[in-house]
Amino acid sequence: MSKSDDVVWALVICGFGVWSFFWGFKRLRRKRLIENIPTSTIRGLALGLVELVAKAQKIKTLKSPLTGTECVFYRYTVERYESRGRSGRWVVTAKGDSFSCPFWLDDGTGRIMLLPAGAELMLPVDYEFRTGWGKTLSPHLTTFMEKNYIRYRGLFGTHTLRFREWYIQPNQSMYVLGTAKKTHNFLDDHREKLMGRLRELKKNPAKMKEVDLNKDGAISVEEWDFAVEKVERELIEEELASGKPDEATDVVIGKGQVEKIFILSDQSQKELTKKLSWQAMTGVFGGAILALIMLGYLLFRIKVFGF
């Protein structure tokens, strides 16, 4: 350790204290926001920032990669411990999530689609495993590591690894604070698809020849109308075969353009506000005290030893 290393550390910790102080206020603001917004029902939902308490339901079945749990949402990390002298740190070697997979929310009064992209997750860890003395990787973890080409064996056996996974299971009760927004409705989607197919048709000379019913080398208005009708009929048949369009997909819950707050949690509102209260208190008071102690140390250091 060089002579001024402690000064650098004191400055860093002092800076961290100041950051914590302001971070604490951010948590306080969040806590108050959660408390100030009443819970809405899906049936009575209006566009804008809404708070919902509902059960998660799958749109498609997902399996969490580490434990193979059936879920509607997952997130995982694989970390390796890297020693640096007497200390060390966890470095993420692999991570993944299902932020791009929507799922349903159902509160008994209705159902709405949730797009988890951009959400702040407030979920406790559902699965955690660390390798170490007497702890070897289970077969499903070994399979996962091999499938993803992640090295986990060193010269002296398995690396020190930490596996963590968060997931939301079907029918699990959830707290959601997000924005209810309009999305493309069925008619818009249908129109877009139809236009796309007609564009494709125009680009394809072989198919355009089929449109020319009287084979005079020119496509009349009637022939074109007939072709449009045929393409649309095929599209409708496909859409009907793929499932009935759902009214509920017209409005979705996601991250808003104006209201950036978007929280997903499997804890109750009470638990969340309690947690945020603690974080706010620790951040504000802890941060201020830490900054003051470090400032005191720096002043003492300067006074006694100089720079």
């Binding site: 603001r29 108050r32 100030n36 009443p38 819970t39 009575g44 209006a46 900054a291 400032l295």
Partner: protein, 190 residues
């Protein structure tokens, strides 16, 4: 050295108090705006319900020639709703209209032809769904008002609320008429 630390501690205190009061102020403003928004959102549904009522009356007129009184009362209740100005007035008028609609649907049970009418069935379903949506939004509005009313009487929010001269807001209460049983009378000729 102690002086500098005390000064910085004082600075933290001032910033802390300032931030705290700003967060209270912003919070109160947000709740207040949420109440206005919740009320406007109820209004949207009420408007939709009011738009459905003339259609319903028209469908019923053909079948319920002996229930002219009920139909006229519904039309009058709808007009009263459109003229309501305050939350209280609106709650009373809407309560009366809801009660009249319930009566109409109950009386309609006595007219099998009307009950089998596709338009009537659709309108009944639509109005019933709107009624449920209105009830949900009314609950949300009352929750917002309740949070607001509690906040402005709690310390330390009370000080900010007093500075801003914030007053308690009115709840959308269920009227006595709405709470009572539906009064069904068939005006069939004797």
């Amino acid at each position: 050295m102690v002086g500098i630390i005390a000064l910085v501690a004082f600075l933290f205190l001032v910033i802390g108090v300032l931030f705290y009061f700003v967060s209270i102020y912003n919070g109160l403003i947000r709740i207040s705006r949420n109440i206005d928004k919740s009320w406007a959102n109820i209004d949207v549904l009420l408007k939709q319900r009011h738009d459905e009522i003339p259609k319903l009356v028209k469908v019923c007129e053909g079948y319920m020639q002996y229930e002219r009184d009920t139909l006229e009362k519904i039309t009058a209740a709808r007009t009263a709703c459109l003229g309501a100005k305050s939350v209280g007035e609106s709650a009373k008028a809407e309560g009366e209209l809801s009660k009249m609609l319930k009566t109409l649907f109950a009386v309609a049970e006595n007219y099998p032809d009307l009950k089998a009418n596709q338009n009537f069935m659709q309108l009944q379903q639509r109005i019933s769904y709107l009624e449920n949506q209105i009830a949900d939004r009314r609950e949300l509005y009352n929750d917002s008002v309740n949070i607001y009313n509690i906040r402005i009487h709690q310390i330390p929010d009370m000080f900010v609320a007093q500075m801003l001269q914030m007053k308690s807001r009115e709840l959308f209460k269920i009227t006595e008429e709405e709470r009572g049983d539906v009064d069904i009378k068939f005006d069939l000729p004797k």
